[in-house]
């Protein structure tokens, strides 16, 4: 076995290098974009509940902010490594550029396990993290959003600390806040609805009417269920949904030939996608094993649960009828499986585009915060639709004209946008 161990940052750089080769980027652009533009690594001393001091490692990585203030999550995780954060920050730069919003990409975190911390200790950690970075955060520099094991409450503590340091209200410094605390409408729906906007555009290109389209969805969390919601509303049918069985904890696929009834399914489910399969069975759903969603004879597959779900091992099971795969989760299709799908003529709408609704909604939250004027849900969704439809169109056109996969076309488009601004600014 070679010593080339896996490293997420190296993987992200590898992806960039491949696209850079494709685009023929010059060395200075590569040198700039292969690495973060700046990083903070710092120690956070926290006085714990037992009055002892513990030191935590804190990070903030800004990959690039040529197109606008950086934007990225902050995660609390015991296994955080700088390389994971660097990779995520880079992907965020591409994502904001692909959907063409004036933001850069960043990522941050604290190495800690919230299971080991009391609420007060977590609050202290949030505030200390913000205090340490206060000069470099803010709506004009770098905007923070929730990520793994951080949520609305953490965001409010962080905002409060930021505002205490700077004085005055600066709600745009933090996104992902609850609506009552300056958040945007539609945060829950954005990713799922956004997915369906891109899907709808793809169907047009496939000349498949939505009311004839049949889909199979993996995942019944926020993304999955909102995608199902909108897909049904535009006339489509969702024949099967894979989810966790609340009783056995095992994955299962619920199938109903005439299509699932979302409202009914909701009554069997918790908000995170676990479904009581016994109840579903008695309501007339057929219960199949967890992998069955992939083999359903449908037009569209929507993997919206975990990464690495469609791999070499199971890609052959994808039914001949499938024309479209829309990635709701991050990285659900392995690279080699994607090649197989492409060879079979199946279109894959990549995660960078299909699940960008969440990023867009955060951007909208910032705009609303800056103007101190808040939109209705309909306004948010209409802007989301517009932005994603445009992005899909641009990516689609590039893909067609240059014979690229949608993923590669999206990356080319995004990287090109970052390179252009960097060039204009004289950075490369």
């Amino acid at each position: 076995m070679s010593q080339a161990v896996f490293n997420p940052f190296a993987a992200a750089q590898g992806q960039f290098d491949r696209i850079a080769d494709l685009m023929g980027l010059d060395q200075s652009a590569r040198a700039l974009l292969r690495r973060p533009i700046h990083e903070h690594h710092f120690a956070i001393p926290i006085r714990m509940d037992d009055r002892r001091v513990r030191i935590f490692d804190g990070y903030r990585v800004v990959h690039n902010d040529a197109r606008g203030p950086a934007w990225g999550g902050v995660r609390f995780h015991p296994q955080e490594t700088p390389d994971t954060l660097r990779a995520l920050a880079m992907w965020m730069t591409w994502k904001t550029a692909i959907v063409n919003i004036p933001l850069g990409g960043s990522m941050g975190g604290v190495v800690c396990d919230p299971h080991d911390l009391s609420r007060w200790e977590q609050e202290a950690l949030c505030r200390a993290w913000v205090r340490r970075l206060a000069r470099d955060l803010g709506p004009e520099r770098d905007v923070v959003a929730p990520d793994i094991m951080t949520h609305g409450r953490h965001m409010i503590w962080m905002l409060d600390e930021f505002e205490a340091v700077h004085g005055g209200h600066r709600p745009g410094a933090i996104t992902g806040k609850p609506v009552y605390a300056g958040g945007s409408q539609g945060r829950a729906e954005a990713a799922g609805y956004g997915l369906v906007y891109t899907l709808r555009e793809a169907l047009k290109e496939l000349s498949l009417a939505p009311d004839r389209a049949v889909a199979s969805v993996q995942g019944f969390g926020a993304v999955g269920r909102h995608a199902i919601d909108l897909l049904i509303r535009i006339g489509g049918t969702v024949r099967s949904v894979a989810c966790l069985d609340r009783n056995s904890h095992a994955p299962a696929t619920l199938v109903r030939q005439e299509g699932v009834d979302l409202e009914e399914l909701r009554t069997f489910a918790d908000p995170f996608g676990s479904v009581d399969c016994e109840k579903a069975r008695s309501a007339g759903y057929e219960i199949k094993d967890g992998d069955a969603w992939l083999a359903e004879p449908v037009d569209i597959l929507i993997p919206a649960a975990l990464e690495n779900q469609i791999t070499d091992l199971n890609v052959q099971a994808v039914a001949p009828s499938v024309k479209l795969i829309v990635e709701g989760a991050n990285g659900p299709t392995s690279e080699t499986a994607e090649a197989t799908l492409q060879a079979r003529g199946i279109t894959v709408i990549p995660d960078l585009l299909a699940n960008a609704g969440g990023v867009l909604c955060s951007y909208f939250e910032q705009i609303q915060a800056a103007s101190n004027h808040y939109w209705t849900l309909a306004e948010v969704m209409s802007r989301l639709d517009h932005q994603l439809t445009s992005a899909f169109f641009e990516v689609g056109e590039l893909s067609r004209t240059k014979g690229l996969t949608l993923r590669d076309a999206a990356l080319v488009l995004g990287i090109d946008r970052v390179v252009s601004v960097s060039t204009d600014r004289g950075w490369v």
């Binding site: 070679s2 896996f6 296994q79 490594t81 609305g152 904890h249 908000p271 676990s274 690495n308």
Partner: protein, 1067 residues
């Protein structure tokens, strides 16, 4: 009282009379209860209180004659219509009470008087006797005190005159005091005292020493009391002790002598509970008046009382001695359902709670917070009543039930329940229970067993007997009938198959089991048709389930559930209690919103008062019915809004629209209750001198303590003995921190993910694939017979390199989940403690063990795992590429038939995984629990195997077209549980008709075996056979069951057909 022959008016009148009598007794008690009121004044009040208690108060009068005086009601005169009773003090008549009718009245039971009135006058006389004795003692005490004061001024010592008086009036008492004085002086070492005892202590000791080795009895020394009577002891004392000290000693001894009746009574095995109760009350009066007894006497009293009423367990007695006072028993005995001559103990449950309450109340003087709890109203039915019940109904035959065959016991048990339920209760019991019901009121009650075996075996045995909830609604008659019915059912549970099997397994069949009954009010409130507490739970002073390295074992653990506590007590497969650490309440096991929601209770146990049933309801649906009326609503529930949990404002809450989660947010935010529970645990742990567990409930306002007992655990969760001399080469791994308790026996397979190999994986895809393989192996390997060992944190979502990414469904069949923390430089990574699915692990009893191989000598025998043949490629050929990283080891195959046993001992904070022979006993000689049953797994598989062999022997291959017969699954693997199938794979080559015949024939076997299994275990399975027919084609295609034949791991076992014997041939 319910004689239908009497007209209703008569009945009513009779009831009115009883009420008058009770009222009269109450007035008398009031008049006599104040020690500061002189007797004369009290007696005058008593005679006025008497007439209203009689049937014809207008013509009734009373007189008390005492000490030459008399106290009479205004118009008293002697008539021929008279009731009399002597007033006695220490068995001597000192006075008389008379009650007269001044005019003639119709004839009743005794002249114009009722039988009840006769009894009433005796009771009043008795009460007057106590009161006189009390006043005499009081007066004597005052006299002594006066004497003491006088002595300061006068020449003669104050104690001399009273002692002269005593010698004249009570020789026996005088002698006893004199003897005590001699002993006291002797103890001080005064030679003169030894002379008074005629022999020196030294000589007596010498005699006893000599006698120790001799087999000749020590000679008798005739006793001569004359030196004592002469007054010499006191003269000797006068020359050696100050007068005040002599006075004080004599004073104390006299009081002690007066109180001496009680220890005497207590030690009399024939004394009834009523007598003891009365004696205790008298004693209480004496003590309340400041009587001082020596600590030794008090200790003896405490121990005797506890032994008499609560338990004979030595450890318990030692603890009780430090906590209870004799007078504490006054209230306890008030709660005993007393009738007739019962004198049994009340059982362990009662004892634990009683002791806990007293211990807390004592400490509450220093910390009032400890006193802020209540105990539910209770009544106790002493254990011997069950025998009265059996005798009354001629049911003695059931007493032999325990010696019968278990199949027969199981078969007959439903009949015994019905027999008991259709039996009549002795009238005394009925009236006792009826009174208890009146006192408990008409809220729901619970009828629980409180037996001697439960004392001995603790929680391991609890649950074997029944506890029944009663709604306790309707007319008094209906409520009483339901109560009697429940008592009969709890009695019948003594003869149930489960407790008998359990006792038989532990050699306790001959133990004289006594079943006391405890009747509690259920803590809670009525909401709509339901009755429930806001929440309830169990708290342990030792935490065996730590989810963070910051939690110490001594920090304790609380399991909280909304509603009745039934769901907190047992592990529940389909739901979760909320866990908390009382000393660190802010370290929560679930921190992200999805965890909090996923692991919050989804169901609630309540009593449906309307239907009279106990129900488990869906919390969501329950809240739709009761809404914010739920007691303690905003403490128990949080509302989820935009990813944030907050306390709901009851007024604004709409359960139909809001997402409510029972996460006890309010309870934790305002942590007063948790802090109090933490203090309670610490205090009780100190008092019981051992870790304890308690059950508690909160009705929305007050905390109720429901039960307290030393913390014990199920057999498979007890600390495992770890011998010091285990051969080093047999130890595969060992751990020295964060260890919980238990034994995991007979592991046949190990899935070992090599940390080094995992670290070196090149792609994300490969890393993710490892998790996938684990999921596949989890499906294939025999359930709970394999362990998973992996690097870093299982199931983590962070950097993939630092732990295998899996979900709970990928590991849910493992017996142990092991995380290995290898040093990286000088840094040892934190392990996860399984936090991502911690509660799943707890409820499914999957053990978690962290290893720190670089820090413990012999921490990990990596060579063993790396060198063993790896089954991965054969079991999951598609993942063969990962064979360098994932090792699947069949332990018996590489160790010549041995298995891996994991011994975990939290007391030592040590665990080892050691290779042993499969049949090896546990290291302390006790039977090993099996994963499936906690007991007799061997029995389950052995007879199944015998039956399978028998079936094969009977199989006519030609007739049915059967080529071969194989055994697979739990019977073959010797780990069948009570409800396991017998899995047979049948190689079939016949036609359709033969197939039909074969299946019909097997069906008959299956049903018969199912019935036998039911009789042996109580599990109803219908048929017991699980048949898999395979054809030549299947064999060719290696379909799943066909593939079992000749498989690498876990191959099918071929059974010999048609030989008539049972010789199985392993293929």
């Amino acid at each position: 009282m319910t004689d239908p022959d009497r007209p209703v008016e008569r009945l009513l009148k009779s009831l009115q009379e009883r009420a008058k009598e009770l009222n009269c007794l109450y007035e008398v008690e009031q008049a006599l209860s104040r020690p500061d009121v002189p007797l004369e004044q009290a007696f005058s009040k008593v005679v006025e209180a008497i007439p209203p208690g009689w049937q014809y108060p207008d013509v009734c009068a009373a007189r008390i004659e005492y000490a030459g005086g008399s106290f009479a009601s205004a118009d008293f005169r002697n008539t021929e219509w008279e009731l009399c009773a002597d007033i006695t003090v220490q068995d001597e008549a000192v006075g008389r009470i008379r009650v007269c009718y001044l005019e003639e009245r119709p004839r009743e039971d005794s002249g114009p008087f009722l039988r009840e009135e006769e009894r009433l006058v005796s009771t009043i006389a008795e009460r007057l006797g106590h009161s006189i004795l009390y006043h005499q003692l009081h007066a004597m005490r005052r006299q002594w005190e006066d004497a003491g004061r006088k002595a300061v001024n006068e020449t003669e010592a104050a104690w001399r005159e009273p002692m002269r008086l005593l010698r004249r009036t009570d020789r026996t008492l005088y002698l006893r005091i004199a003897r005590k004085m001699v002993n006291h002086l002797g103890w001080m070492g005064l030679e003169g005292a030894h002379d008074l005892l005629q022999t020196s202590t030294h000589e007596i000791e010498q005699e006893i020493d000599d006698g120790a080795d001799s087999n000749v009895p020590v000679p008798v020394r005739p006793r001569d009391d004359s030196p004592l009577l002469s007054g010499s002891p006191f003269e000797l004392a006068a020359t050696n002790l100050p007068d005040e000290e002599i006075l004080e000693l004599i004073q104390r001894w006299i009081v002690e002598e007066n109180a001496a009746f009680f220890p005497k009574l207590l030690n009399n095995p024939h004394a009834t509970v009523s007598e003891l109760s009365e004696g205790l009350r008298r004693f209480h009066h004496l003590m309340a008046d400041g009587a001082e007894l020596s600590e030794a006497t008090l200790d003896d009293l405490r121990v005797t009382l506890v032994r008499r009423f609560l338990t004979t367990q030595l450890s318990f007695l030692r603890i009780a001695k430090n906590v209870v006072n004799p007078c504490d028993f006054v209230d306890l005995l008030d709660q005993v359902i007393l009738e007739g001559s019962s004198h049994s103990r009340l059982g362990g449950k009662t004892a634990g709670l009683f002791l806990a309450e007293k211990a807390l109340r004592r400490k509450a003087e220093a910390d009032p917070d400890l006193g802020r709890f209540k105990v539910p109203k209770s009544r106790y039915l002493p254990a011997e009543w069950i025998y009265d019940f059996i005798e009354h109904n001629d049911l003695e035959e059931v007493l032999q039930q325990k010696y019968r065959d278990i199949g027969q016991i199981r078969h007959e048990y439903p009949n015994i329940i019905q027999l008991f339920k259709n039996s009549r209760f002795p009238p005394a019991m009925v009236s006792g229970l009826s009174m208890a019901l009146d006192e408990l009121g008409d809220g729901p009650i619970i009828v629980r067993s409180s037996s001697r075996l439960e004392d001995r075996l603790g929680s391991a045995f609890s649950g074997k007997y029944k506890s029944l909830f009663l709604a306790n609604q309707g007319t008094k008659r209906q409520r009483l009938e339901a109560l009697l019915d429940a008592v009969a059912e709890v009695y019948a549970s003594v003869f149930g198959p489960d407790p008998i099997t359990y006792r038989a397994e532990r050699g306790l069949l001959d133990f004289d089991e006594e079943m006391g009954i405890l009747i509690n009010e259920v803590v809670g409130r009525r909401v709509g048709d339901y009755f429930l507490p806001a929440f309830a739970g169990v708290a342990f002073s030792y935490n065996e389930f730590r989810w963070s390295a910051r939690i110490e074992r001594e920090d304790g653990l609380i399991r909280l559930v909304p509603g009745l506590g039934t769901r907190a007590v047992d592990r529940i497969p389909d739901d979760y209690p909320v866990l908390a650490v009382p000393k660190k309440p802010h370290l929560r096991v679930n921190t992200t919103l999805d965890e909090v929601i996923r692991y919050s209770p989804a169901k609630i146990d309540v009593i449906n008062v309307q239907k009279g049933t106990f129900e488990s309801l869906d919390i969501k649906e329950f809240l739709l019915q009761v809404g914010a009326e739920y007691p303690g609503f905003s403490d128990v529930f949080s509302v989820v809004s935009e990813g944030i949990l907050s306390r709901p404002v009851a007024m604004l809450c709409n359960p139909a629209k809001d997402t409510l989660v029972a996460d006890f947010g309010g309870v934790f935010e305002n942590s007063r209750l948790i802090q109090r529970l933490s203090k309670v645990l610490t205090t009780l742990e100190e008092a019981f001198e051992s870790p304890i567990d308690i059950e508690f409930a909160v009705d929305g306002q007050d905390l109720y303590l429901l039960q307290c007992r030393p913390q014990s655990s199920a057999d498979d969760e007890a600390p495992a003995p770890i011998p010091a001399d285990l051969p080093a080469e047999d130890i595969l791994f060992s751990a020295d921190r964060y260890v919980s308790n238990g034994v995991v026996p007979d592991i046949t397979h190990v899935v070992f993910i090599d940390p080094e190999g995992y670290r070196l994986l090149e792609s994300k895809n490969q890393l993710l694939m490892v998790g996938r393989v684990v999921g596949e192996l989890n499906k294939i390997l025999p359930k709970r017979q394999f362990i998973l060992m992996g690097p870093g944190r299982w199931g983590s979502r962070g950097d993939l390199k630092l732990g295998v990414r899996i979900t709970y469904a990928d590991i849910n069949n493992t017996a142990v989940l092991i995380e290995m923390a290898h040093k990286v430089g000088s840094y040892v990574p934190d392990l996860s403690f399984g936090t991502h699915f911690f509660q799943d692990l707890v409820e499914a009893k999957i053990r978690y063990l962290p290893l720190y191989p670089d820090e413990v000598e012999g921490g990990l025998d990596r060579r063993f795992f790396m060198a063993c043949p790896n089954l991965l490629a054969e079991m999951t050929p598609e993942f063969a590429a990962l064979a360098d990283v994932i090792k699947v080891i069949e332990v018996p195959a590489v160790t010549r038939g041995r298995v891996l046993r994991v011994l975990m001992n939290a007391d030592l904070d040590r665990a080892v995984g050691v290779l042993v022979d499969p049949e090896a006993p546990a290291f302390d000689g006790l039977a090993l629990p099996s994963p499936a049953t906690g007991g007799q797994a061997q029995g389950y598989w052995q007879w199944r195997l015998r039956m399978a062999e028998r079936l094969a022997a009977e199989m006519d291959g030609e007739r049915f077209g059967v080529v071969a017969l194989y055994l697979i699954g739990s019977t073959k693997n010797a780990n069948a549980g009570p409800s396991s199938d017998i899995d047979l794979v049948i190689h079939f080559q016949g036609d359709d008709a033969q197939r039909r015949d074969l299946l019909g024939w097997l069906d008959g076997w299956s049903l018969c075996l199912g019935e036998i299994n039911y009789l042996r275990t109580g599990y109803t399975t219908g048929g017991l056979l699980d048949i898999h027919l395979i054809t030549d084609e299947d064999l060719e295609k290696r379909t799943p069951f066909a593939a079992k034949i000749g498989a690498v791991t876990d191959p099918a076992r071929r059974l010999t057909m048609g030989s008539g014997g049972g010789d199985a041939v392993e293929r």
